[in-house]
Amino acid sequence: MVSRLVDDRSRAAIAASIERRRVDTRGLLFKVVLQSCLLVTLALLAVLLVTVALDSTDQLGTRLWDFLQGTLRSRSSDESLGIHQGMYGSLWIAVIVAVLAFPIGIGAAVYLEEYAPRNRLTAFIEVNIRNLAGVPSVVYGLLGLALLLNGQIFGLDRLTGGSSALSGGITLAILVLPIVIITSGEAFRAVPMELREGAYGVGATRWEMIRTQVLPYAAPGILTGTLLSMARAVGEAAPLILVGAVTGRLGENPGLFDIGALDDRFTALPIVITSWTVQSGRDDGFTAAAAAAIVVLLVFVLMMNSAAILLRNRFEKKRG
């Protein structure tokens, strides 16, 4: 009966509208626009990596070993041009960050998540840490300058030797501290209540419970956070400029594991990159040198980042 009520013309119109709606041009266009947003972003990433890789071949392709062992020079054609001092600085900055920021950051997270009473003071400290994470890195440089170089506070400059890898490392440790606290705290919050109760239920003290249940369960999350913050610290330049990282008038190349040079004038890989990039306007050969130093830096930074991402994805999958 229904078919009688619908005359042929309207039936055709309905069919046409169904037909038309099947090809949803606007929707398709929308999707293409969204896809291209992502593709443009990834293309920029690809262009960046390719540009850097191509530029770097002049140095890395011909004299990789010399480049790694060489020193900072004022001309790009210099036989002994290289990044040894930068690697020394970055290596020791990373070590200092690991030694200072990781134990303090994880400890603070343990206290805030597992011990601290839920009161206004704790809430204030947590908000405070979140805000610290958003402070521009250059401002941390000002802190380092006031605290470690100028000796305005506690006379710390005598300990750090003023402008030194030690000062740079401490400054960057302070910089990543909030990141370590936040990521560790998130890892602790993910520990199931049942595990805590199980441990308490057989007579574990709070610390025994934390050591045997919370820390092992949260270890992958903590490791992810520490890897990310380490990558961040190794790639930072702005705070180091403020605490006086330089690229001229440096001493002889120290041995990579020579602790004695920690309180000398210093530089780091990102500083070397900055300096060479800025000089590339004057001496084009520095473009290749900067690109080569970037490749070395990216190898370390991206390795740490990828390890962190893989680790996190694996455990997310495993624990649902």
């Binding site: 896809q35 960046l48 343990v110 206290y111 405070n128 250059v138 990102p270 990039t277 991206l302």
Partner: protein
């Protein structure tokens, strides 16, 4: 009768174990206090030197002078504030659409397998140090993108952006006016509604005048410029916009999407009419955080914005300029002791304090928006 009694002493643990608990507890308190100490020291060190600057500088000279020459005692604030705004604006023009588009695609369209490849790729981008973006901005973006923008291209892009802005503002204004007419805005919020429309209009007028001005004085530049650095900063903050927006959209419950689909809506309508409005607070937060990050970004600007450690005033994105951050880095770079006339050293801290206060307020506003999303779902 009683079972054999237990005394209080028997219900205690060994003293060594108890002492260890106390020692560990207090060590952890100390580590937590370090973070408080750090914030205190930051604020204290900034305020101390900045105060010397604030009380010592001739304020009339901080406005309308030739430029920012801290070593010679010339502190013209617009010289470093205007380029900061330009860089941030350019960065958001790049990162806003790209980041948001990528987020909508990842959240609403991409299937899990594609997602599992695309998300890590964005995270790799997020992990690239800013010095690398600085190099890229100076050696590739400046000659290949900014250098190729002609006078006409600039006018077309500028006009398109202005029109887009005008369309969005008109939409917001119309909605506010309708609410006003229907009495949906309570009296206390009326001033706010009027003010927000006024702000939109003023910003449009300023932007239009600025675009025209830049167009008239247009001079191409394929070395470092504010535009090149701005695009570099934009690339740097794309992952930030994308990940925070995507988190916000992921928080929108699937039941809303299903309800929308159940009413016969297509994916596009669901995305634009249901998911985006539901996640709007989070998206606003993403943009605010990105702005805060862009204002605070130092190295890209220092390397690619084309200014040395001092600069003349400029309001054109195609010229070299100095932002607040780059001004600080420039003053300190290549030396381990900042020296100069009078307040040179203190000017560092004054700029740092401005930057700190700006980013802090932006971050606080952003976290308000984020907690709105959390409350809603």
């Amino acid at each position: 009768m009683h079972s054999e009694p237990v005394t209080v002493d028997q219900l205690q643990i060994a003293p060594a174990r108890r002492h260890r608990e106390v020692i560990i507890r207090y060590s952890l308190v100390v580590t937590a206090l370090v973070s408080v100490l750090v914030s205190t020291l930051i604020v204290w060190s900034l305020l101390r030197e900045a105060w010397t600057f604030i009380t010592g500088v001739v304020w009339a000279d901080t406005w309308g002078q030739q430029g920012w020459f801290p070593r010679r005692g010339l502190y013209d604030l617009p010289t470093i504030i205007v380029p900061s705004l330009i860089i941030t604006g350019v960065a958001m023009v790049v990162a806003g659409p790209l980041g948001l588009g990528a987020a909508v695609y990842l959240s609403e369209y991409a299937n899990p397998r594609v997602r599992s490849w695309l998300k890590p790729a964005l995270e790799i981008l997020a992990g690239i140090p800013s010095v690398v973006l600085g190099f890229f901005a100076l050696t590739w973006i400046a000659p290949n993108i900014v250098g190729r923008i002609g006078k006409e291209t600039f006018l077309v892009v500028g006009a398109a952006l202005l029109l887009g802005y005008a369309a969005v503002s008109a939409g917001i204004a119309r909605a506010k006016i309708r609410q006003y007419r229907e009495g949906a805005i309570d009296p206390s919020a009326r001033i706010g509604a009027v003010a927000s429309i006024a702000v939109l209009v003023v910003v449009f007028a300023l932007a239009a005048a600025w675009t025209l001005n830049v167009w008239l004085d247009f001079a191409p530049n394929n070395a470092g410029s504010l535009a090149a650095a701005g695009i570099g900063v934009g690339i740097l903050v794309i992952p930030l916009v994308a990940s925070i927006s995507e988190d916000a959209m992921a928080a929108v419950p699937d039941s809303l999407r299903e309800a929308s689909a159940g009413l016969g809506a297509r994916k596009m309508s669901t995305a634009t009419a249901v998911v985006l409005p539901a996640a709007i607070s989070g998206i606003v937060a993403a943009f605010i955080v990105a702005v805060s990050r862009a204002i605070g970004e130092t190295m890209v600007v220092f390397m690619a914005a084309g200014a040395a450690d001092a600069a003349r005033f400029t309001d054109s994105p195609f010229e070299g300029g100095l932002t607040m951050t780059a001004a600080m880095a420039s003053l300190a770079s290549g030396t381990d002791s900042v020296v100069g006339e009078g307040l040179t050293f203190q000017s560092l801290y004054f700029v740092g304090l401005m930057l700190f206060l700006i980013t802090l307020s932006l971050n606080i506003i952003a976290s308000r928006f984020v907690s709105k999303v959390r409350e809603a779902y």
